[in-house]
């Protein structure tokens, strides 16, 4: 394994043998894990006589062989280069003297941009284990690999597995587990999903032609995404479009597993296209349907993201390894500059800035939840519009569960001629949902938000512009949206997530028993347990209270001393209360009207 590499820096704080061997063996362990999964699945496929001699095995091996071997070859290359500590950290440089003079002056010149942070914070990078971990080049790879394997199995299971969604790993893991875990991760850690995202992982590996090593040449045309089109709204619009497609073809019903595979494969292909044409993680910014949702809901999380510990040092840094990259790190894939970060919105937790900073001036702090929602002085208009649109999507997901909506949607589809288009598009549900009522319901919420802004502006005697009221106060809707949408996933997740225990033993529904759990006495339920409704209530109430708290903080921090601030505060509080009560009533109503189980929320 020994290669002619650079020797590890003598001054490295991680030159002890135990650190060295851990650094070597963890990637080896991951590569072996990948191979073990590969051989295990191959063995079961070969043992399955009815399937090995069919088109299913062709598809299985056509995906399984090239992806595994591509990753293993890449892993071996990176492991070999990592063996002699090529990317080891040489120890922090001394703080330059100008940071205390020029740097502090420069930082002090931006009081309008940076708000003094308050409250207790715990910096994880003060802990030697985390510091060591974040310096490892394989830190993100280790987080991504299990997920990559899972979602590649999802694609294969969708393509070749049985049609019954409750026996197919693709639908079970995606819609009964992933969609719940995803929202829980956002609320708990922020962009943790982005850290472990299997879609961007594979695109990035191809772009870098490596799994975790630092390569100098990239396999991409490297175009910049136009500045004029750089908005989170692309992601929000795509989220809405994808939600519509998902309802239209009943993908998450859960419907045909093949459609779930197409969705997952589609995201990987789009991501790959972006990675080959544009620089860095352009897809994550301007394509990923979850970027807006995750970024917004991350504001609830107690994680600050990787951020400069001392901005005055960044002000005098001329090399900016955090953004541009260094010998041992890539520049931030998220185009984030830790020296000017004021929220965790754009931190994908990749840790490249931490590895790159020669002064070890990057921290990862944990603080009280919700701070990221009200603390930033600069609040973005497009993000606020995105919050209202996503709130609209959440309410649509509740309204569409009522009988009245079904009747109305069918009527509208006949009147508008949508049924003809739906027939041409081979819609399994007769054209549901009609795009007119789908986007109509969603559009109510930006209009409501803008109306609130207009009323607020009137209350201040036009001293504060509508846009400002709208932009700042829409951040207060974030916790209610985050917990509200998590509550919407609970019936599916809490009722049927247990099926995954069976499904991991028999992922394709072929009758395998890989882990000995295929015959557990767990069965899919058509209706959720009735107690889930109370959990949903709890989530919405907590979300509502959190939104009220954020609203109060926004008034105090952004509008204190300005004319009409008190009236604004009362009105915006009132809107949140109305939204929270509407959500509660919505969940209660759909639980009551659902046939077969009087108190259970429907799927």
């Amino acid at each position: 394994m020994a290669t002619q590499q650079k020797m590890p820096p003598a001054a490295s704080p991680y030159s002890k043998p135990v650190y060295k061997w851990l650094d070597r063996l963890v990637p080896v362990g991951l590569a072996l894990f990948m191979l073990t999964v590969f051989f295990d699945y191959t063995w079961w496929m070969i043992k399955s006589p009815t399937h090995i001699a069919s088109w299913r095995s062709l598809i299985f091996f056509a995906i399984w062989l090239p992806t595994t071997f591509f990753y293993v070859i890449m892993a071996v290359q990176d492991i070999a280069k990592n063996w002699n500590g090529r990317w080891e950290f040489a120890g922090p440089k001394a703080r330059p003297g100008v940071a205390d003079t020029v740097g502090k002056d420069k930082a002090a010149m931006q009081p309008e941009y940076f708000r003094t942070v308050t409250g207790k914070r715990m910096d994880l990078t003060n802990n030697s284990f985390f510091r060591w971990l974040f310096h490892r080049r394989w830190y993100q790879f280790a987080a991504q690999l299990p997920n990559v394997i899972i979602f590649n199995i999802v694609i294969i299971a969708g393509l070749i597995g049985v049609v019954n969604p409750n026996r197919n790993f693709a639908t079970v893991i995606t819609w009964y587990v992933w969609f719940g875990v995803l929202f829980a991760l956002m609320i708990g850690v922020g962009r943790a999903w982005c850290l472990i995202c299997p879609f961007s992982a594979q695109a990035e590996w191809v772009q870098r032609i490596g799994l975790f090593g630092r390569k100098k040449k990239l396999f991409t045309l490297g175009y910049k995404w136009p500045q004029r089109y750089s908005t989170v709204l692309i992601s929000v619009f795509f989220f809405l479009g994808l939600t519509w497609s998902e309802e239209f073809y009943n993908i998450a019903g859960p419907g045909k597993p093949l459609f779930t595979a197409l969705l997952v494969a589609g995201i990987i292909l789009w991501d790959m296209f972006y990675a080959l044409v544009f620089e860095r993680r352009s897809f994550c910014h301007y394509g990923c349907p979850l970027n807006g949702v995750i970024g917004v809901v991350s504001a609830v999380a107690p994680f600050e993201g990787f951020r400069a510990k001392d901005r005055s040092l960044c002000k005098t840094c001329t090399t900016k390894e955090c953004m541009k990259g260094s010998e041992r790190s890539y520049g931030c894939g998220w185009y984030e500059y830790p020296g000017s970060m004021t929220s965790n919105y754009n931190c994908g937790l990749t840790g490249e800035c931490f590895k790159g900073c020669p002064y070890e001036n990057i921290g990862l702090k944990v603080h009280a939840p919700l701070k990221e929602a009200y603390q930033p002085r600069k609040k973005r208009f497009d993000l606020s519009v995105g919050v209202t649109l996503m709130m609209g999507a959440l309410f649509f997901e509740i309204v569409n569960s009522t009988k009245q909506y079904g009747v109305f949607d069918t009527w509208l589809s006949h009147v508008s001629g949508w049924v003809v288009v739906a027939k041409a598009l081979n819609a399994p549900l007769g054209g549901y949902p009609n795009p007119i009522d789908y986007y109509g319901i969603i559009a109510i919420f930006p209009v409501l938000g803008w109306l609130m802004g207009w009323l607020g502006s009137l209350m201040t005697g036009r001293a504060i512009k509508v846009r400002e009221v709208f932009t700042r106060y829409m951040y207060a809707w974030i916790p209610l949206f985050g917990l509200g949408i998590l509550a919407r996933q609970l019936p599916k997740v809490l009722t049927n997530a247990g099926l995954v225990a069976k499904s991991i033993s028999d992922p394709f529904g072929f009758g395998w028993n890989m882990l000995g759990t295929a015959h557990l006495n767990i069965h899919a339920r058509s209706y959720a347990y009735h107690w889930i409704l109370y959990v949903q209530f709890a989530f919405v109430i907590v979300g509502g209270l959190a939104s009220l708290f954020v609203n109060q903080k926004i008034t105090e921090l952004d509008f204190r001393g300005r004319p009409g601030a008190a009236s604004l505060n009362v009105m915006t509080h009132g809107v949140i209360v109305i939204l929270a009560i509407s959500l509660l009533l919505g969940y209660y109503y759909i639980a009551l009207t659902n046939p077969g189980h009087p108190m259970a929320p429907p799927f």
Partner: protein, 87 residues
Amino acid sequence: MVWPVRLAGEISEGVDESMMETTQKRNPNVKFDLAYLGVGVVLIAIMAVGIQFDIIDIMVLMSMTISLWLSVGAAMVFSRFNGGRWD
């Protein structure tokens, strides 16, 4: 080279290449816009094939892909109104 064009409400004598350069400066993303339209033509053509031959898998994948394409398009249209300022 002079290109004959009709402007709103009048017949112009034409516009020379220097004016075209000015237009390009006004919209620095011309290449992106054209590539975007090209991608759209390809996507719609694939969708049409799916509909023509009733291949639902293509329709599902394309309906999702076209929604990404439309999302980018919507942002491009809005950027005309706000001058590309989103904050």
